[in-house]
């Protein structure tokens, strides 16, 4: 067994890490030197106060029934609506759960082929954006609060002027969108004002194709983060997992070759990862295309040979793909290779009836003073494209519509508040080309307008978004059938399958991505530093930077929260004498940013990575003073050679959870050489406790590490379902984060090219739970069906259980995190789960509220097989189905079958805790291909 390590500190076994590990609560290691008497005094007071706590009289409470109850609503029961969210032009189909008219949880639409009931982390967190107390609430005119009447008057006057001039000088800039209604409205506008132009731009270049990975037995990716965060993550992850699961049962192969300069989720999941600087990618692709291996290093040669052999062995079942941010020439090479091998080049995302112009002509026109009026809809170029900020000043009339009064709103004369997708009518296209209808889960409580309504306003119409969407489909579906019936049917299901739409796939071309993004200058020498600007894995292009759930979500590979960093390789760190947290200035062609260093094992030696999405100037209080704006170096997706790195002295706090909750040394992630090779059997350990009787059902969980891609969807789903508090950067740095489910990331091997593996660790629900033996007030108890329970109202906060827990899954409420939450945020909470107070220990409950409700509903409705359908929140979100939960007393249940696959093992088996949560070993064939 080779050693698995969490951070470079641990690898070199630094003293500070050992101290951190030795302390159960790292935050206490710096506590003042307490006297014995002080401790006794505090204990006495705490116990006295704890006792008094039970004596208070319940405060009076008001109850507000409906005036008119909605038809079909049962009080106290959740209702579910099919809708969708549009993320960079791709619909994420969801089922929204509402209680008393409040949306409280989003799940994937199980009937939709692009979701299958699964979601990514962004979709899970979108709920909180709806409730954001700092969302834009009013029309602003020159920074002052105005009203819609004034805005409409301005729009009317603008429309009159444009009618006179045929739209000359008018430009519309939107984010990436494939919404049929928006495209129809834009099309109508361009027809009415032929001289006007529509530009579409998204800060992050996204792929224009969504191939079906479930059919790809061999994938060769050149810096294309297929499985990484983005609008197509759920689609790709599901496809890849379907292929990988088939491979587990012995059907075909599931090979993934990745060449990339910096670790990505796809790279660390790959069977064969090659570290290659951006400049090496064309060389490698050419080698793969025509077999010229001259000039390749032995490692590269081997990778190309293996990849080539795998592709040839799987003609028509392979895929060669290049990241969307790379130049078209490289994309062309990949297409040629796919054509040669007969790989289906399908999966192109459909384009609309009207083609958008890219942003470059707009920039040029703005500089030339040709733009007389500009409307920016739901995108923030002033933040993510610094040259836009200069150019926009030359436009005499500037209008912005968005969810937040952001940087772009600040530079515009008018700002109109936008409705969130979850409170709008609209439509969008999913990754498979099907049309999703967007219906509101709640009536907007702010005076806002949806995207469709904003576009209509521009044309001087004041139609409701509902009418606009119906208008779009009224003509499209009319053929034969009753429209009203089709409309209701589509609303109920949430979408119309792609086949019924007659989708015409667009030719493969990058949608709305800035063409400049791919521009890169080849490095002149091997020693030049190359800077990569990429979207942030948790706040993306900054649009989620005011979402605390996503800010506190550890970035999958670095586990950094609440900020960004300048990521460098261990070799470069050694060369420059840099440590994590050292402040440096990074310059490219006269532009520079400064930020803290973070050393990333597995990054190409001379590559420096920075993430967009931080350094916001006009955003909410959540993202205030966090990080630096990487866009100052260049747009997302760009790479720049000839960079310089200069130590400026001083250090900056980088909050990373990578060393938090470390467990005693063990073979955390196990490996098997093939799907059919079982792990060696663990010896049965003697047990001084009588075996736990198995009731029906008995709950258990199995997590397949060979399917886990570390995407974090489970973590955010858990936060949303279980009312988990966010604590902020300083508290996370002290090890006080509250996430019940953490995804550990282990390294194995040399730091320069370390294998990286993920391991989700929820509460293990041990049958012999050490925490239960430690609790002095019996707040940690066991249920007969195998749940390890934490009774909040009994807990007095001694934290003994956390000290006893070998898996480090217990979380303590050091403060009352939620008491001062805005009323909007309180409305977003799940009413089925207790909101925990200060001084109480909490942990994963296997979503006991879902289990209990399923049991009660099953008994009330007399359905004895209720236990087969219940899912935990993490399981339900997981796009690769790595997490399976269910009844372990039934040998035919999915979880029992997973546990019997031969790869199943208990974490920290030596502790003999007999956990109900087990993991399946990862498959790492040394001879793959």
């Amino acid at each position: 067994m080779s050693r698995q390590w969490r951070s470079l500190d641990e690898l070199v076994d630094s003293r500070s890490f050992r101290e951190l590990f030795a302390a159960e609560f790292p935050s206490l290691t710096t506590a003042a030197d307490w006297k014995r008497r002080d401790i006794l005094k505090c204990m006495g007071a705490a116990i006295a106060l704890a006792g008094l706590d039970g004596c208070e009289r319940q405060p009076d409470e008001r109850a507000f029934p409906y005036v008119r109850q909605a038809a079909g609503e049962t009080l106290g029961e959740a209702r579910f609506y099919a809708t969708a969210l549009e993320f960079d032009g791709v619909a994420q189909p969801v089922i929204g759960k509402t209680r008393a008219g409040r949306p409280i949880k989003l799940e994937g639409n199980p009937d939709h082929p692009a979701s299958g009931g699964k979601t990514d982390a962004f979709t899970q967190a979108a709920l909180l954006d709806l409730y954001d107390p700092e969302r834009s609430q009013a029309v602003l005119h020159k920074g002052r609060i105005a009203d819609w009447q004034a805005y409409d008057a301005m729009a009317h006057e603008l429309a009159r002027r444009m009618d006179a001039s045929g739209g000359k000088g008018f430009r519309l800039l939107t984010g990436a969108t494939r919404s049929p209604t928006q495209l129809r409205l834009i099309g109508a506008m361009l027809k009415r004002w032929p001289a006007a132009r529509w530009h579409a731009w998204s800060a992050v270049p996204t792929a224009s194709t969504a191939p079906d990975l479930s059919r790809a037995h061999a994938i060769v990716s050149f810096d294309h983060d297929l499985l990484g965060p983005g609008p197509l993550q759920t689609w790709n992850a599901r496809g890849w997992a379907a292929r990988r699961s088939a491979y587990h049962t012995g059907e075909g192969e599931a090979l993934l070759f990745v060449a990339e300069p910096t670790p990505s989720l796809t790279g660390v999941t790959a069977s064969h990862r090659l570290i290659a600087g951006t400049a090496r990618l064309p060389v490698l692709l050419a080698a793969l295309l025509d077999g010229t291996v001259a000039g390749l290093s032995p490692r590269e040669k081997e990778w190309v040979a293996l990849a080539s052999r795998s592709l040839v062995r799987n003609p028509g079942r392979g895929l060669v793909t290049v990241g969307a941010h790379h130049p078209p020439a490289l994309q062309q090479l990949a297409r040629r290779l796919n054509d040669q091998l007969g790989n289906a080049a399908d999966g192109a995302l459909p384009a609309g009836p009207v083609e958008a112009d890219p942003i470059e002509p707009l920039l040029a026109a703005m500089h030339a003073g040709e733009v007389k009026a500009l409307m920016v809809l739901d995108t923030n170029p002033v933040y993510a494209l610094p040259e836009f900020a200069e150019a926009i000043e030359r436009v005499p009339l500037r209008i912005h519509a968005g969810l937040h009064a952001d940087e772009t709103a600040f530079r515009c004369h008018w700002h109109a508040p936008l409705a969130h997708d979850l409170e709008s009518w609209g439509d969008a296209r999913a990754a498979d080309g099907s049309v999703c209808l967007i219906q509101p889960l709640v009536r907007p409580w702010l005076d806002v307008r949806s995207k469709a309504a904003q576009l209509a306003t521009l044309a001087g119409r004041s139609s409701s978004d509902h009418a606009l969407v119906r208008e779009t489909w009224g003509s499209a579906w009319a053929a034969g059938a009753n429209f009203e019936e089709q409309w209701q049917e589509t609303l109920r299901g949430g979408f119309r399958p792609a086949s019924s739409e007659g989708v015409t796939p667009a030719s493969a071309q990058a949608v709305s991505a800035s063409a400049k993004a791919g521009a890169e200058t080849p490095p002149r020498s091997n020693d030049e530093l190359t800077v990569l600007v990429r979207a942030d894995p948790t706040v993306w292009d900054g649009r989620f930077s005011d979402n605390p759930w996503l800010q506190e979500l550890p970035k999958p590979l670095t586990k950094i929260v609440w900020g960004n960093a300048i990521h460098i390789s261990p070799a470069l760190a050694e060369e420059e004498g840099l440590e994590n947290g050292d402040l440096v200035e990074l310059s490219v062609a006269g532009r520079s940013v400064s930020g803290p260093i973070w050393i990333v094992p597995g990054q190409e030696r001379r590559t420096i990575l920075v993430h967009l999405g931080y350094g916001r100037h006009h955003a909410g209080t959540v993202s205030e003073n966090l990080g630096f704006n990487a866009a100052l170096l260049g747009p997302a997706g760009s790479s720049h050679s000839d960079a310089t790195l200069r130590k400026v002295g001083g250090r900056q706090l980088v909050a990373s959870t990578q060393s938090h909750f470390a467990m005693a040394p063990d073979e955390f992630v196990r490996f098997v050489p093939s799907p059919n090779t079982p792990l060696r059997a663990e010896p049965v350990r003697a047990n001084m406790y009588p075996p736990l009787p198995m009731t029906e059902p008995s709950w258990g969980m199995a997590i397949d590490l060979d399917l886990c891609i570390g995407c974090n969807a489970c973590v955010v789903a858990c936060v949303a379902e279980n009312n988990i508090a966010t604590v902020g950067k300083e508290q996370v740095a002290k090890g006080r984060e509250m996430h019940w489910l953490r995804v550990d990331r282990y390294y194995e091997g040399p730091p320069d090219d370390a294998r990286q593996v993920f391991q989700p660790v929820p509460c293990m629900h041990c049958e012999n739970a050490p925490c239960e033996m430690g609790c002095p007030v019996n707040a940690a108890v066991h249920s007969p069906d195998g749940l390890n329970l934490q009774v909040y109202n009994r807990c007095i906060g001694t934290r003994t259980c956390a000290a006893y827990c070998p898996y480090k899954v217990r979380r303590f409420n050091w403060f009352d995190w939620t008491k001062e939450d805005a009323p909007e945020l309180q409305a977003a909470r799940n009413p089925e789960v207790t909101v925990r107070g200060r001084g109480v220990m909490e942990k994963c409950t296997y979503c006991i509220q879902r289990l209990q409700n399923a049991r009660i509903d099953g008994e009330v409705d007399e359905q004895p097989d209720w236990a087969t359908e219940v899912q935990t929140a993490c399981q339900q979100a997981c796009p690769t189905q790595a997490i399976v939960f269910g009844d372990v007393s039934d040998p035919k249940s999915p979880v029992s079958r997973r546990k019997a696959n031969g790869r199943d093992y208990s974490l920290l088996a030596d502790a003999n805790t007999r956990p109900r949560t087990t993991h399946s070993a990862r498959i790492a064939r040394e001879d793959e291909a």
Partner: protein, 220 residues
């Protein structure tokens, strides 16, 4: 060697010890009494409501079934406070001009909810489910008392954990046929008959009595 303690010291010590014991036991007793007092558990205390709604009049005199207004009690965790619309189904026809009903009419006209005071209130960490209790034959009267005799509604039972557990530990004598659940009160029967019926029901539904007193039954 001189005496350290004066003769009275012994008396003082005894007195101090007795006082301490008295204070401690008195304190404990009064704390216990306080926790069980109707001041804390609010049994019998009438909440002032925006409308002086009389269950006695509607249930006792008019004979309206509980489920007419508390419609979700059989399907949902919550019995549900009726919407203003439900009040107005009758009161748009009868007592249309009554002064006491002015807030109800105002609520309906202005689309603002009536702000009732909660009578049956549980702590936020307790998850009670009406539907399963009704389905298993726990009559309304067990927890809500003789609502048909209350001109103004008050809490009939303490709604404290001890009281919940009394029933969860021994539910048999309190169970009735489902059809009798909303009766005020259900038909009388002998203690032996009640227990016999309850035990049969528990067997028929395979109710695990051990599970009923587990933490996770009510706390999440």
């Amino acid at each position: 060697m001189p005496q350290i303690f004066r003769p009275s010291a012994d008396t003082w010590l005894r007195l101090a010890a007795a006082t301490m014991a008295l204070l401690l036991s008195g304190g404990l007793a009064s704390a216990g009494g306080f926790a069980g007092s109707t001041y804390v558990n609010q049994v019998g205390w009438i909440e002032e409501q925006p409308v002086p709604f009389s269950h006695k009049h509607h249930v006792g005199d008019a004979g309206i079934d509980c489920r007419y207004c508390h419609a979700s009690v059989e399907q949902s965790a919550r019995a549900g406070l009726p919407s203003t619309h439900v009040c107005m189904t009758c009161h748009s026809q009868i007592w249309t001009g009554a002064e006491v009903l002015a807030p109800v009419r105002a609520s309906y006209a202005n689309d603002r909810p009536i702000a009732w005071m909660r009578v049956s209130q549980l702590p936020d960490f307790v998850y009670f489910n009406h539907s399963i209790h009704v389905k298993r034959g726990v009559p309304c009267v067990e927890c809500h008392g003789r609502i048909d005799t209350m001109p103004l509604t008050y809490r009939a039972e303490p709604f404290q954990m001890q009281w919940c557990l009394d029933c969860h530990r021994d539910p048999a004598p309190r169970l009735h046929p489902v059809g009798e659940v909303t009766m005020m009160p259900p038909p009388p029967r002998t203690d032996a008959a009640a227990r016999r019926y309850g035990e049969q029901l528990i067997r028929a539904h395979q109710i695990d009595l051990g599970r009923l007193v587990n933490c996770e039954t009510c706390h999440r």
